[in-house]
């Protein structure tokens, strides 16, 4: 065990360098570019009572060094979250790096919109902004090592807790699926009704206008003494 630990330590000697690399460039989430007044919106279709955690980090393009600066003070992002009824449930200004959390109270499509809002307007000057974004929903939002430390769980207990969370998420999604299927069924039945009634109505209109046309023309020609 000791020899394995020693070899393990040797392997792990590369850690500080790698850690530095991570901090400098490679820290994880996907990123995209956003313009000055551009608003980027993301949709999350989630069941109710689901927690959503979003982390973002912004970097500003620096013309002099032709690269993105690691962090710029004064740069801010406005985060707006709307629920399925287009009611705003979160509308806050964060700094250049931020973390926003919300819990859904109604199931459906929630919209998360981000747009830049910096205190110093001269910062931008036609440049672009790089936004690193990471959105975790439901069970993925849980931080298991933290939960293990807080509740002092053993390994097995933590694994079972994770399974319980996953099962709960599956249950919620199934419930939400039932609700959506009902809406879908209502839409389909409404279409069915509409097709039926409008076809009948149009046939009746056609017959009535035909009859009216014939009667009108007959009386017209009789008045003109042609018939």
């Amino acid at each position: 065990w000791r020899s394995e630990q020693r070899s393990g330590m040797r392997w792990c000697g590369a850690v500080p360098l790698a850690w530095l690399a991570v901090q400098l460039g490679l820290s994880g989430a996907i990123y995209f570019h956003i313009g000055e007044t551009e608003k980027k919106c993301f949709i999350e279709e989630i069941p109710d009572e689901t927690m959503v955690i979003g982390n973002y980090r912004t970097q500003l393009w620096d013309k002099q060094s032709e690269s993105f600066l690691p962090s710029t003070p004064g740069l801010g992002m406005h985060v707006e979250v709307r629920d399925p009824d287009t009611k705003v449930i979160l509308s806050r200004q964060y700094g250049s790096e931020g973390r926003f959390t919300f819990t859904s109270h109604t199931p459906g499509e929630h919209q998360i919109c981000l747009h830049s809002n910096s205190t110093k307007m001269s910062l931008f000057a036609g440049g672009k902004l790089r936004v690193h974004l990471d959105i975790q929903v439901g069970e993925h939002a849980n931080n298991y090592p933290e939960i293990a430390a807080k509740d002092k769980l053993t390994e097995l207990q933590l694994r079972v807790r994770q399974l319980l969370d996953q099962v709960e998420q599956i249950q919620k999604e199934q419930n939400y699926q039932r609700f959506r299927e009902e809406r879908f069924r209502q839409t389909s039945e409404s279409t069915n009704q509409r097709v039926l009634w409008w076809s009948i109505a149009q046939t009746i209109i056609l017959i009535l206008t035909g009859i009216w046309q014939m009667k009108h023309l007959k009386s017209f020609f009789e008045a003109k003494k042609l018939v």
């Binding site: 790698a18 919106c41 207990q157 879908f184 149009q202």
Partner: protein, 282 residues
């Protein structure tokens, strides 16, 4: 062959049957592989009985405190550094965004060489439910390029370090906005225990937990695809509904207008000439 090591495979679309997702032939590896050292399977050691305490939070009794040593602190610190290293590098991003007409949206991610990555996308609403997708590696070489695709899944192993870029384009469309869902998985899931110092293999209970975890992940994956397909179907149904209403009313109006127009036109043919001819005739 090894109990607890098999994992349920991820899903990919079946080309012959549009709308059907099936498990991928490859089996995903053990999710808790450490970057530092590889875990070799060994027969399970007899496990000491778990400490007393229930699995749910409220009625849990805390275990006894253990004596702390200097080498343990060093190990803990090292593992903390590893945790910070591992957690960002082995993430996945799943986003749904709106792509306006004539627009192109690109996403970038820094990937380490040798990482197995998967890109899945599906168009949820808009037009003919198709989009152009393009995946480029760090040097700009195109790894994947498809035009007007509704959904697809692409797996690749990063051949070099650098920034990989994938773009969705709606430039062929003139007035339809598209809603696109994509899921970009990089590497495996982060391990549940970053400070994993166990040299022994998993017990049967833990192997069972791992199997269940993978099964649940597969279920959640199926649910996501089902939800997206249902959203697509519902969007089509609502489109159909509004179109039926609009065109029915439109047709009824056209019918009335045309019939009135016919009568008026016919009357106009016979109005002036007749008076002259009757005058001539009489």
């Amino acid at each position: 062959t090894h109990p607890g090591r098999t994992a349920l495979p991820r899903l990919v679309p079946v080309p012959q049957h549009p709308g059907v997702w099936a498990p991928r032939a490859a089996v995903t590896g053990l999710p808790f592989s450490s970057v530092c050292r590889e875990r070799r399977w060994r027969p399970p050691l007899p496990e000491s009985p778990p400490p007393p305490g229930s699995l749910l939070p409220p009625s849990h009794t805390p275990p006894q405190a253990r004596p702390v040593r200097a080498d343990m602190w060093a190990r803990l610190l090292l593992q903390l550094l590893w945790a910070q290293l591992l957690v960002p590098l082995v993430r996945g991003s799943e986003l749904t965004f709106e792509l306006p007409d004539n627009a192109k949206q690109c996403f970038y991610e820094d990937i380490v060489q040798g990482t197995k990555c998967t890109l899945e996308f599906q168009v949820i609403t808009g037009g003919h439910y198709d989009v152009d997708c393009r995946l480029e590696d760090a040097d700009g070489a195109v790894l994947y390029k498809e035009m007007k695709k509704q959904y697809d899944s692409f797996t690749f192993t990063a051949a070099k370090n650098g920034t990989y870029k994938f773009c969705f384009s709606n430039e062929f469309s003139t007035f339809t906005h598209k809603t696109v869902y994509f899921d970009f998985q990089v590497g495996d899931d982060p391990p549940l225990f970053p400070n994993e110092s166990r040299v022994s293999a998993l017990t049967q209970m833990e192997s069972a937990c791992v199997t269940m975890h993978e099964a649940m992940k597969s279920v959640i994956d199926y649910q996501t695809h089902f939800r997206l397909r249902e959203a697509q179907g519902r969007s089509r149904a609502e489109d159909l509904n509004s179109r039926v209403a609009f065109w029915s009313i439109g047709e009824a109006l056209i019918l009335l207008v045309v019939s009135l127009g016919q009568v008026v036109l016919l009357r106009s043919f016979f109005s002036d000439k007749r008076t002259t001819s009757t005058r001539v005739g009489s």
